[in-house]
Amino acid sequence: MGWLFLAFGIVAAFGLAALLRRAALQLAPAEWRSALADMPLTAAFGLMVIAIYIFVALAAPLLAPFPEREVVGSQFQPWSLQHWLGTDRLGRDMASRLIYGARNTVGIAFATTALAFIVGSLLGLWAALRGGWLDQTLSRFVDALMAIPSLIFSLLLLTIFGTSVLTLILVIAAVDATRVYRIARSVAQGIVVMDYIEAARLRGEGSWYLIRREILPNALAPLVAEFGLRFCFVFLTISSLSFLGLGIQPPLADWGSMVRENATLITFGDITPLLPAGAIALLTVAVNFVVDWQLYRASGLKEQAG
């Protein structure tokens, strides 16, 4: 029964995605049309899901029937018209918390990943460009940090610096930035030996210009691919941290922590924890469908150019 329902949902979603793609094709400005025309259905689906998530995140106060933190009644109420998805362990409306969770979770994950990418890729590109002792020092240090298991390292840092949302973002971003640094550096090392970089150097362009205008555009594809996965790993990190007793500040609703809070219920076959887990999974799949599409386009365009 559940499987049938799921299958129906997937078929319906893709149908909707197809319609959406057709509508977008009609409405979009001419220069986007070629890109949209060869957009696979999966990417359309991914874009649709991301759009819905962003909408839910922004409009959470309008959509949610109850405030995020309000206790509305007894705990673990079944699904009903009043409480669409029942209530959680403290008697808060589950549907409302899921909706607000979109805002917090996606916001935190985005901020963290963006920060990690800005810091990691800039340092990585800079190290590759400058080489020498700067590259050596940074790389050795990053190597050492990467050799420490990330979850345990985050645990250590959060215990030292406290567990506000800001520290959480900074710590996870710092740990993730080491991974991004490595990719950015290795990609950029292939680019800095190119003739056009040499030419730009001879023109007397500064490092910042070279990174921004010459290296970054050519290194973007692998970085985007990494972004897709890293973005989703942030949820998992928060969830694992809350498993070990740290994590997001209550009463903020966040999907990673919501999975953890309700996880024991799965032992009895109760599907409550599947809701936030499903929300994370859907977003992961959607983001990566879009990323795959972008990668495919990037490689396709290059082939034509070469």
């Binding site: 050799a147 420490i148 298991p149 969830s239």
Partner: protein, 317 residues
């Protein structure tokens, strides 16, 4: 070949440097944590006098740099000391758990690597087909569930109905078959967690090569697509695949504390978290160094294998 040996030597030297930095970072991070072993051991019952007495006994009253130096000189002579918390030699404490950790990592890898390669190759072969999309979506779904959650679901399906135990109780007398049976659920959980990454990389690496002229040539010669992939694309795509396998193997050794907790598996991760929370620095350091060594050696192995599979890299030195 000389170039290869030089590279290995150079990388090993850098590895030692990495280990040194790791030990400094871990030591001083542990120092920064609130409280020390004496106060955490005594807990709320701690009084200033008992804490001071315990500190004296444990040698914690010395300044941090001195303690680090003592540890370092000991470690360089192969003496990692005793656990300050229960006075057991660290080698004893760690040996059995290291064995368990490596067993689980290899078990999960033995399941995950072939699965990921097969799925990745098939997905590349039939790219953009329903199979490709479904394998991709399935793998992404599997990695987007937190590990403990995957574990709980597997326990619900496979342990509550009595097929496999929900808890791993390995003892020194367990036979290999018993171990495989008991550790099946944690290994399966980890398989689900790491397969996606390796599968996606396999697929991407092969697809990347499919546009190369020599593949085109083989195709024109009328070779079957499977043969092209296996004989021509895969060998040249090995470098990135080996790298991603190494990263995931390192993860299987160092990053599985959550799975250990859920399945009550006596591995190193749990020991490290416990020791951090008790501020048992000697144990924390020893495990951190094991983890870091695993990471360094696996990366080195991956690079050596990549070089060996790709003669062009070798000549480049």
């Amino acid at each position: 070949m000389a170039a290869l040996i030089r590279m290995i030597a150079q990388r090993l030297a850098l590895g030692v440097l990495t280990l040194f930095i790791v030990s400094v970072v871990i030591f001083f991070a542990t120092e920064l944590l609130p409280g020390d072993l004496a106060s955490t051991l005594l807990g709320q019952a701690a009084t200033p006098e008992t804490v001071a007495a315990l500190r004296r006994q444990l040698g914690l009253d010395l300044p941090a740099p001195v303690r680090y130096w003592n540890w370092l000189t000991g470690a360089l002579q192969g003496d990692f000391g005793v656990s300050l918390a229960n006075r057991r030699p660290i080698a004893d404490l760690i040996a059995a758990r290291l064995g368990n950790t490596i067993f689980l990592a290899l078990y999960a890898a033995a399941l995950a690597v072939p699965l990921a390669l097969i799925l990745g190759i098939l997905a590349a072969l039939w790219r953009n087909s329903v199979f490709d999309r479904a394998a991709n979506a399935g793998a992404l779904t599997a990695i987007s569930f937190p590990e403990f959650f995957v574990a709980y679901i597997l326990v619900l399906w496979l342990a509550q109905s009595g097929y496999f135990p929900s808890m791993v109780r390995i003892s020194p007398v367990s036979t290999f078959g018993e171990k495989l049976y008991m550790a099946f659920l944690p290994a399966l959980t980890l398989t689900l967690v790491v397969t996606a990454h390796m599968m996606r990389m396999t697929r991407a690496a092969i697809i990347n090569l499919m546009a190369q002229p020599y593949i085109e040539m083989a195709r024109l010669k009328g070779m079957s697509p499977l043969r092209i992939v296996l004989r021509h694309a895969l060998p040249n795509a090995l470098a990135p695949i080996i790298n991603v396998i190494a990263i995931n193997l390192a993860y299987l050794i160092t990053g599985v504390v959550v799975v250990e907790v859920v399945f009550v598996y006596p591995g190193l991760g749990q020991l490290m978290v416990d020791s951090v929370s008790k501020r048992d620095i000697a144990v924390v350091q020893a495990i951190a160094l094991i983890f870091a060594s695993a990471y360094v050696l696996l990366n080195l192995t991956a690079d050596v294998l990549s070089t060996l599979t790709n003669p062009r890299l070798m000549s480049k030195g």
